[in-house]
Amino acid sequence: MILKNGTVLMNGAFERFDIRIENGVISKGGHDLSPDEGETVIDCQDKIISPTFVDMHTHVRLGQEYKEDPQVTIRKAIKGGYCALNVMPNTKPALDCAPMVERMLKTEAPEGFHIFVTGAITNENGTLAETEDIASAGAVAISDDGHWTENSFLFYQALKYAKKHDLLVMDHAQDMNLFKSGKIYEGKASFETGLKGFPKAAEASAIYRDGTLNAQVGSRLHITHLSTLMGLETANALKQIGVHVTMDVTPHHLIFDESAYLSYDTNIKANPPFGDERDRKALVHALRSGEITNIATDHAPHSEPEKDQEWEDAPYGIASIDSAFEVLYQELVTTSLVPLETLLTAMSTNPAYLLGMRHGIGIGNEANLTIIKLNEPHAISYEGGAKNNPYVGKESSAVVTMVILKGNVAYEYGK
């Protein structure tokens, strides 16, 4: 197969060349590649070719299929331009032992689609899960996502096990005593809606504890779904003193601020909550500057009855893996806040790197490619499964037109 005349993202910059794919692998790149007899040619004139996206924070509802069937999640992910998910451990039952990790890894998926697994740090007894077994079973990360690992001593030990097995430690950094006291961050919105507020320091103080513990261990600490300026500054300060810390941010924290709460729309109810305009701008700026290297969707599907009720009783979560790129392009790229190269890199090769996945446009790499057409205004559509996607119906001028997984066309726009 030859992808002809595309604008290709390679090493963070765009370049125009043709790509040849053979046996599921990128075999050649160059100008004016001429097709062999019978070789498929895909015209990519006026199209962007990016490495497929990798979501490093996904809630796949194993055991809670009524929220969204895992197969639907995978189909929506591919539609959104993804070739990989990193599954968070709060499935039912949780991914807190080797057999559950193995079961999750066996999830059926198209060729070239990768399921990564994050095992739990602690189990339901409040002790450490069998981290070494979990790692041996194939997990690439550990996390107590949904909660912070409250017990400092246990988190310290977890960092040591993670270091031995080179696991990424994904930190839902949020002081639980403060979080329990509220629903959203203290601020103008908590005052106006009556929704109880908790201080933003809940994030920064948790990052500080975990960063200083990691200063003594040297594991790969990753702050997921960063939401505040204070949290960002704390993580940056830790990096300054040599602590290994990386960060990701969700599409919704880049798009919404606390004023969104005034509508009591349960579809934008997520944890961590949205900060104010300053927080949002700081996150966008940090993505642009490279302080934040990754975008993760925190895709968290819920059923309609769960979301269609009183705001405070509805579960936290936004399910947007199918439209993350489209909405981010519209909100960040068309507004010149973030260059397209930066957005694509933060969604593809950067998360792949943290998950230990060989990825990107290079000879010998698996041919996982997302083809994008710009200047194609359309309304973001509902793609089945959970409906808690606040972007459905919004305009976007970019669309994923084709997803190639291991050399096969896995998705084509409009087909």
């Binding site: 106006e192 809606t193 929704l195 009720q309 405070e312």
Partner: protein
């Protein structure tokens, strides 16, 4: 979005979304309504053939009685849905309850709920008018309107007055609605209370004065909030005794206030905690009048949402 005038208003969700004109319109309507209450024959046919439902998910005899009496005085039919606190329903059944009431032909639903934004949520699908009778820590518009009506009766106007609100500003929907309404009508608002119960964001609408002794000196009105006694367990106040010493409205404190100070309290009172008995029953207090004014204001609300159009 262009603001809807009162005439087209369908729901009463909060004071925040009302204009100054809307508020004055309701206050003006309340005066003739109060005359009805004071008459020998306390009944008008204005809402004959209309059905009003009260749906209270939180116990509140006072507000519920007031809304129900107001409905009866205007000849509306009443459906009183008692929801025991032990069986506070999940969302699906709240939605079902509304659909059931609609199927019964209910024209307006008066809702009290512990969850913030429930009236807003109901208004997103209900065909009946939704009247907020207090939601979580969000708003309690009818209480603010009756407080303003009482102030206006005593002072003749609202604009230019200095009004002090004392107590748990953070968790009080009464405070929130009052603060919005007073701001819109041009009164100056001062809040006082323990630092743990005064949110920073209130600064946009009011001056904060932590010392009640200071704050009381030059205000025209003091509105004393009911203290939820369980605040003690959550670590927000240290003891009821300490609270009384610092934030209780005592006759000693009232002595240092203006002579014509007007004292309000939304009730029910914790005597000896946020207010002393001798202050509550002094000639400065309008606490009992607030009760009858409450009925008048709620009649005005019904009239605005349901009666005005056909008259």
């Amino acid at each position: 979005m262009p603001k809807k005038g009162v005439q087209q208003m369908k729901h009463l969700l909060g004071i925040e979304e009302l204009s100054k004109e809307d508020i004055l319109y309701i206050l003006n309507l309340a005066t003739p309504m109060k005359d009805i209450i004071l008459r020998e024959v306390k009944k008008v046919p204005t809402l004959r053939g209309k059905i009003i439902a009260t749906l209270f998910y939180e116990p509140s005899t006072r507000t519920k009685n007031s809304f129900e009496l107001a409905a009866k005085l205007m000849s509306a039919d009443l459906v009183s849905v008692g929801v025991s606190t032990s069986s506070v329903q999940k969302g699906e059944s709240l939605k079902d309850t509304i659909y059931t009431l609609e199927a019964m032909g209910v024209d307006a639903i008066v809702i009290r709920h512990s969850r913030n934004g429930v009236p807003n949520y109901l208004s997103s699908f209900s065909h009946a008018s939704i009247i907020n009778a207090g939601d979580g820590q969000h708003e309690h518009p009818s209480q603010a309107l009756l407080d303003l009506f009482t102030i206006q009766e005593h002072k003749g106007h609202i604009e230019g007055l200095k009004v002090l609100i004392v107590g748990d500003i953070m968790h009080s929907r009464v405070a929130k609605s009052n603060i919005y309404a007073l701001n819109k009508l041009g009164a100056k608002v001062v809040v006082s209370g323990p630092p743990t119960l005064i949110p920073n964001e209130v600064r946009e609408y009011a001056e904060i004065c932590y010392s009640l002794d200071e704050a009381i000196k030059d205000v025209d009105v003091v509105n004393v909030l009911r203290l939820q006694l369980e605040r003690q367990q959550t670590g927000l106040i240290n003891s009821l005794q300490e609270y009384h010493r610092f934030y209780g409205l005592t006759s000693e404190r009232v002595k240092h206030a203006k002579n014509d100070l007007l004292v309000l309290h939304p009730g029910p009172m914790n005597r000896g905690v946020e207010i002393d008995e001798d202050v509550a029953y002094s000639e400065k207090s309008a606490i009992n009048e607030q009760v009858s004014n409450g009925v008048a204001v709620r009649m005005a609300i019904y009239y605005m949402l349901m009666g005005g159009k056909e008259q």
